[in-house]
């Protein structure tokens, strides 16, 4: 019998789909039915023309993730669903921090922090500046903690995006499926 780690851990689920209204709801209900919290969900285009991709971050047991992935893949408009452990993906999140412009004019501290964190100024307006930082959650959090004493007016972090740590992603297998005749609605 295969032994699965019963501890909850971080997983990234990728789902390649047709571009269909309502599919987001169909996929999220598979999680809500099992009371699994979606830490983040990003929809985007994929490397294949016309095929969309969901990138979902969850913390769950592997056994539960396997069951969910099978239920997702069963949906008519889903071409392929896969899951990855943390070390099996290259992942990134993007964070934006808005602070008052005057905190910048009161010294060089902010510029130093931005430089040290490999962040950058996205825009500098008369009243506010926006700093952008890409990285793991702990990295964007670290920048947040350093900027917080200066007053963060607004903060947002994107969902996780990730690609598989291997030469080809799931797209390779999907290309074959796309050869099938299919009426498109």
């Amino acid at each position: 019998m295969e032994i699965l780690d019963m501890e909850k851990q971080e997983f990234t689920i990728t789902v390649y789909t047709e571009n269909q209204v309502g599919l987001l709801h169909r996929i999220t209900t598979i999680f809500t039915k099992r009371k699994i919290n979606l830490e983040s969900l990003t929809t985007s285009e994929s490397e294949i023309e016309g095929i969309h991709r969901f990138t979902i971050a969850v913390t769950e047991t592997e056994e539960q993730v396997i069951k969910v992935v099978k239920q997702i893949e069963k949906q008519v408009e889903v071409l392929k669903a896969d899951y990855y452990k943390k070390k099996e993906v290259v992942q990134q999140e993007l964070a934006l921090y808005k602070i008052a412009t005057e905190t910048l004019t009161n010294g060089i501290e902010i510029e130093r922090i931005v430089r040290e964190h490999n962040a950058r100024f996205l825009t500098i307006e008369r009243e506010f500046v926006v700093i952008e930082k890409a990285g793991y959650k702990r990295e964007t959090k670290a920048l947040f903690d350093e900027l917080e004493p200066y007053g963060i007016k607004e903060f947002v972090r994107s969902g996780r995006i990730a690609v598989a740590r291997q030469q080809f992603g799931p797209g390779k297998e999907i290309e074959a499926l796309l050869q099938t005749n299919s009426p498109s609605l």
């Binding site: 069951k67 099978k70 239920q71 069963k74 499926l177 099938t180």
Partner: protein, 578 residues
């Protein structure tokens, strides 16, 4: 939404193009799919379709139910009895939401349905218009697929996809929601059946290594044991299954949805699984060395406590739906694919082996169950009538060759336990969802789907009152539905649990009932009531021999219990005979 691609994909259709309305396209598409009967209820947003139906009455018969829930359960009964896709029509808003219970029932019991709902005109979508409901959103978790049509030109393609998805692979319900303006619009009608969808695989590819591994395990087994479910019936693999179990001399037990896939009298048919199933099939689950599950999904009512379920056995799981593998019970050897194809491949590799000693263990359990439960249930020594004796005499009258449709509760368990079957697709019941009110409308659908067969609806006084209005539909259609009401003036199964697990606190389970004889007469049915044993035989003879619908009420013991029983949360081996 992607743009529509009307380029033919294969098999250029012979149908020539004509300009018609979307509503007429709905009807013509149904006819192209071979639909000759649909169940439904009209209303504002679906009126153009009903108007179109008026011109096609000779080719597509519409059954007017008395409630949309009745319509969809009838479509389910039709699908289960005929093996075809059931079709159901309803209007927007309440019409559509009234379908949801039936859709959920069809989803969990893998019944192929195409539901077509009307929707408010597309320019009103999202405006909380009169009778607007987001039926796509509401039905999404309980449909295999659903789709909203807002342009007439999408109708033929959407319906073609709907039928293909509903009936292929593991079947299920599909819903198409059509805005009223799309029903009025004109389109160039051209119909082409759908035979593939690039993102959808009907069934997994067969892996011969898995077949070999399964065959080896069975050949080496001393005590192999087969559990079969509705997968056999849906795959129409009854014959392949019979040859398989005969080749290996494999004792085989059924889930309530698998019932009738193998004739009751077959020596290797050892009986019913689950909470109220037979003693041997449950107890010996924990004695077998190889457990072979065919087209079943290890429902918790079958397995009881999973921690105490068949832990000693090597599990082989023949299954069409990959998501069922390892969902509840770990499969040491999964055999993916359609049972009609995998079973013969497995049979070819099976050695003939004498397993009479093992099979005799089931017979020994059966003897014990007879002594403790069955004898008194079928041949009671007390005056009070039992449900079991009614079913037992019913078997004599039908020769086991009737379609038995049940509702949900004690009578359902008793009917499944004691009804006899000689052919498949003869047991129609709400298994996964346990929907009270399913029985009567499903029996109506079954009678219309299998017009040459005797259809008996075994129902309790609780469930009957949930959809009793469909007796009017029975009268209007002149469907030959025989209603056998087993009246114990209680919600019997809940009462049984209250007796056993809630200290006899009969909270809201006693029913002060209407006069069912008068009610049935009001619905213009021939009726009879049995209150004493000496009336029963003659009453059942008349019930079966009368040509047409009939309403027979049998007053059974108010506080009789169904045994054996696996208490909720217990293991299969903890089955109680009393």
């Amino acid at each position: 939404m992607a743009s529509i691609d009307l380029q033919p994909t294969e098999n250029k259709s012979p149908s020539h193009q004509t300009t018609i309305t979307g509503a007429e396209a709905v009807v013509q598409s149904l006819i192209q799919e071979g639909v000759d009967i649909a169940f439904g209820y009209p209303g504002g947003a679906i009126m153009p379709v009903y108007d179109a139906l008026y011109d096609y009455q000779d080719r597509l018969h519409h059954v007017l139910a008395r409630h949309e829930q009745g319509a969809i359960h009838a479509a389910q009964g039709y699908a289960r009895a005929s093996g075809k896709v059931g079709v159901c029509l309803a209007t927007s808003g309440p019409g559509a939401t009234n379908l949801i219970t039936g859709i959920a029932d069809a989803q969990i019991d893998s019944t192929p349905l195409v539901c077509i709902t009307g929707q408010v005109p597309s320019h009103l979508l999202g405006s909380d218009a009169f009778q607007e409901t987001d039926v796509i959103g509401i039905s999404m978790p309980v449909t295999k697929w659903n789709y909203q049509v807002t342009k007439a030109e999408e109708i033929p393609l959407a319906i073609a996809k709907a039928f293909y998805i509903a009936r292929s692979g593991r079947p299920g319900p599909v819903l198409i929601d059509i805005t009223k303006d799309a029903q009025f619009q004109q389109l160039d009608f051209h119909y082409e059946k759908c035979s593939s969808i690039r993102s959808y695989r009907e069934e997994p590819a067969i892996d011969i290594d898995q077949i070999e591994a399964a065959a080896n395990a069975i050949n080496e087994a001393e005590r192999p044991y087969v559990l079969f479910g509705q997968g056999i019936i849906l795959a129409e693999a009854e014959q392949e299954f019979k040859i398989f179990v005969e080749q290996g001399n494999l004792p085989a037990a059924w889930t309530i949805l698998g019932l009738s896939a193998m004739e009751t009298s077959h020596p290797l048919n050892v009986g019913m699984l689950g909470m109220h199933g037979n003693y041997g099939p449950n107890l010996l689950t924990n004695e077998c060395d190889v457990l072979i599950a065919v087209g079943m999904r290890f429902d918790d009512r079958v397995t009881g406590d999973l921690e105490k379920y068949a832990k000693q056995a090597k599990v082989i799981h023949l299954e069409i739906d990959p998501a069922e593998i390892n969902k509840n019970v770990f499969a040491h050897i999964p055999v993916m694919g359609n049972a009609k194809k995998t079973l013969p491949l497995l049979t070819q590799r099976l050695q003939k082996k004498d397993r009479s000693e093992w099979v005799a263990q089931f017979a020994e359990c059966d003897r014990l169950e007879h002594e403790k439960v069955i004898q008194e249930e079928l041949h009671p020594t007390k005056d009070i009538l039992t449900m079991g004796e009614v079913i037992h005499i019913l078997n004599e009258k039908t020769g086991g060759d009737a379609i038995i449709v049940t509702d949900v509760g004690q009578h359902q368990m008793v009917a499944c336990r004691y009804a006899e079957f000689v052919q498949s697709k003869s047991n129609i019941t709400s298994g996964g969802l346990g929907t009270m009110g399913f029985g009567l409308p499903a029996a109506l659908g079954a009678a219309l789907g299998a017009p040459n067969r005797t259809v008996v609806c075994v129902v309790g006084d609780g469930g009957l009152q949930m959809t009793i209005q469909e007796l009017a539909t029975v009268y209007q259609t002149q469907a030959k539905v025989k209603v056998l009401l087993l009246n114990n003036e209680f919600l019997g199964m809940v009462r049984q649990w209250q007796q056993l697990f809630f200290d006899k606190r009969y909270s809201s389970t006693e029913m002060i009932n209407p006069d069912f004889q008068l009610l049935a007469k009001g619905f213009r049915m021939p009726t009879n009531q049995v209150t004493h044993r000496d009336q029963l035989d003659q009453a059942l003879t008349e019930f079966i021999e009368t040509d047409g619908a009939y309403f027979l009420e049998v007053m059974v013991g108010k506080e009789n219990n169904v045994f054996p029983m696996i208490p909720s949360g217990s293991g299969v081996a903890e089955i109680r005979l009393d």
